[in-house]
Symmetry: C2
Subunit: 483 residues, 2 copies
Amino acid sequence: MEKPSIPQGTRDFGPAQVARRQHIFGVIRRTFELFGYAPLETPTLENLSVLTGKYGDEGDQLLYKVLNSGNFLVKERRGEITPLVTAEDLETGPRAVLPKIAEKGLRYDLTVPFARYVAMNRGTLTFPFRRYQMQPVWRADKPQRGRYREFWQCDADVVGTTSLLCEAEIVLMMARVLSELGLDDFTIKINHRGVLRNVYQALGGEGQETDLFVAIDKLDKIGREGVSRELLAKGFTEPVLDTLFDLLAVAGTFEEKLDRLLAGFVTAGVEPDGQRPTADSADDDEPAHYRGLSELGQVHALLAASGFRQFERLEFDPTLARGLSYYTGCIFEVKINNVPGMGSVSGGGRYDNLTGAFGLPGVPGVGFSFGVDRLYDCLETLDLFVGAGETPTRVLLTHFDAASGRAALPLLAELRQAGIPAELYPDASKLQKQFKYADAKGIPLVLILGPEELAAGVAKIKILQSGEEKTLPLAEVVAALTV
Amino acid sequence: MEKPSIPQGTRDFGPAQVARRQHIFGVIRRTFELFGYAPLETPTLENLSVLTGKYGDEGDQLLYKVLNSGNFLVKERRGEITPLVTAEDLETGPRAVLPKIAEKGLRYDLTVPFARYVAMNRGTLTFPFRRYQMQPVWRADKPQRGRYREFWQCDADVVGTTSLLCEAEIVLMMARVLSELGLDDFTIKINHRGVLRNVYQALGGEGQETDLFVAIDKLDKIGREGVSRELLAKGFTEPVLDTLFDLLAVAGTFEEKLDRLLAGFVTAGVEPDGQRPTADSADDDEPAHYRGLSELGQVHALLAASGFRQFERLEFDPTLARGLSYYTGCIFEVKINNVPGMGSVSGGGRYDNLTGAFGLPGVPGVGFSFGVDRLYDCLETLDLFVGAGETPTRVLLTHFDAASGRAALPLLAELRQAGIPAELYPDASKLQKQFKYADAKGIPLVLILGPEELAAGVAKIKILQSGEEKTLPLAEVVAALTV
């Protein structure tokens, strides 16, 4: 018989792991709900017509496709069966065969299903719509350390508003979740696509904005030299690159950086693209010549007004680019500084058009996501998990023989009634075996209820970690354990 | 553009539905944990070698198969590409094509993955092992009312013990979950495969036990007449059927039925198959000539000793058969009496050999399952859901203009700090629109913070349902709302 196994890139989560993961999900869920985000769950299976073409060519390759059920090779109509896949299709390859045998695929991220949901329910939803979603996604990627084929995303998005309050609240939620998890040494990096555009304009270039974004995005990994090499190859010149790195290397506090970039843009003659804020917007004093800088300033001011006290952990990083994604406004990324090499544990940004691909244009929004698997690894690396054992059981009642086992049942019921997870060892085995069981499972307390104890109307309580023992009247046990 | 849709038999769960489902999951999870069951989660994708052949031919048909990634039509080895699927395979059909293009499938139930997990981790698990698992499963079934292609199961099993305490605790857990959900009008039916076997022996038949079980299982649906017709066709005779229905129609209390069936078996000369209980077992006084009756009596006695007070809702039903499943001991099934036509919301039983198919024989256990979708439908039918709205938000702060919006931020932060989900309406829209928003989302309280209120250092609190208004000093708002 073949040994059973699970597919590469997937995982079983045993009791201790589930308990730890539930701790993380719980902190994120509570934070999302405190900020008024409502839960949404979408199906694992989506129609391939919904998924295909939304993640680029590479994404389409990485989609898991599900075979049509029944005889997927033929078409049946009015009792007549005709072949669906032909020998010619086999020659042509998956491109010809796939659409005939697979209509459905597995969820690849939480954003496209959310957009699909908003478009399908446009008539009944009330906007602004704040939703969060915590579900697994699947990618047929090469498995490697820290990269799985089944992994969890926790997204929160608000759509139907352009208010910068939402950006400020994303920073508040990120900081709250990380602090509650005990991951205090974090940096939230923030930038704005408008700033990147202004930087590009300051270089006097045209039409190569995307090349610039793609290169800058790699600054972290390949350094200034690598980025320079890439941009030189694309036709950028040395003096242009000097201007670029001068602008990007701007130093100081959040607000100093804003001021210095503003001066840089003015000096370079960048055309202002910002509108003066209307009376409704959060800050009337902002000069707001440039939309990116102005909005970053407003987010900063909203955070200050909200009593945010961790500005030393919020960094305006003009080199943050977030790849080729659909972001149009503020962008975010979070790193845990004392877990090197981990990559970002959270990220997000503002977009103009969530549901355009589904026939509903003009739905702007802003959202972000936590990577649960990376948060888990950070907490494990820093040894920040507490008390998650192999069982929820807090008390094991010993089982001497049939009579004393049965005599333990009322106490067992009472413990559970008091909300204390408890077990009676199911069989009247040797006491040593029962203690070994409690030890292996990490059950902290053992209640010894032998014939002697029962005759005296008492129970012996043993704290496994310390070895401490205490004898108590049966009637006082539950009260003693609930204190 | 095609309108986006979701696959037949799958569902989106919007905010109110998720909140209600979380309520059900929460009650089940807390109960499982109080009884010492530890959480386990297995991957959505399992190898088809693990799944195939475990659910019968029909089950194999209903498995969702996932296409191998990349070019699934060819094999690549040392850079050489050879076709995998041939025109001949197309002629032969799915039987020939499937094994070449799909290695993985979607989880079909929670029992096989659990068995696979136990077999894979035999070396490190401590037995008895109590696990619960609450995850979706997928079946390519014809969708119809109440039957979905993606649905949730909540299983609890304990393996590595034959103790009847576990059976008694299943009854306690079933009763606890249903009572906590407010589904008080339930019946837990219990039977024992040994009783069914003894009934068959009482008829003097041989070799047709399965025919009898299959027919009896339908008694609920097709009645005595239907069952008779089916059994007559299988060669059972009229007098035999009379004996059968006399035995099955046994009346009285749980214990009276046990006694009367015992008398019936003795009269019919059924060979005793029960062992006298050992000193370890829970009841030394039981006559225990027949294992099935004896064990049911012991479970009843263990429940009485545990202080179980709902015996009027526990019915010994000798006609309960639970289909062709692998059960060998006690079997259970639960119905909600005041929701007619719903089918069972929970069921389970004891089995001798969980992991035999994975090379680990001799692992006995007992388990049961809740059907979350049916529980949901029962709660909805009986209008037992309370307070699940479209948002977790309890308080909406109004947003008059930029200045008063910003002035509201410290109060917003304070509310959240106190654990009260709250939102500031993101834009300075018309007040009427903001109230409409609160109303549509079911937000119970609106805090009006206009320039006048701010100047006076107060907030107006409006309770939407009653229309009641109250004005409070800003500093007292949070305290007033946390009481």
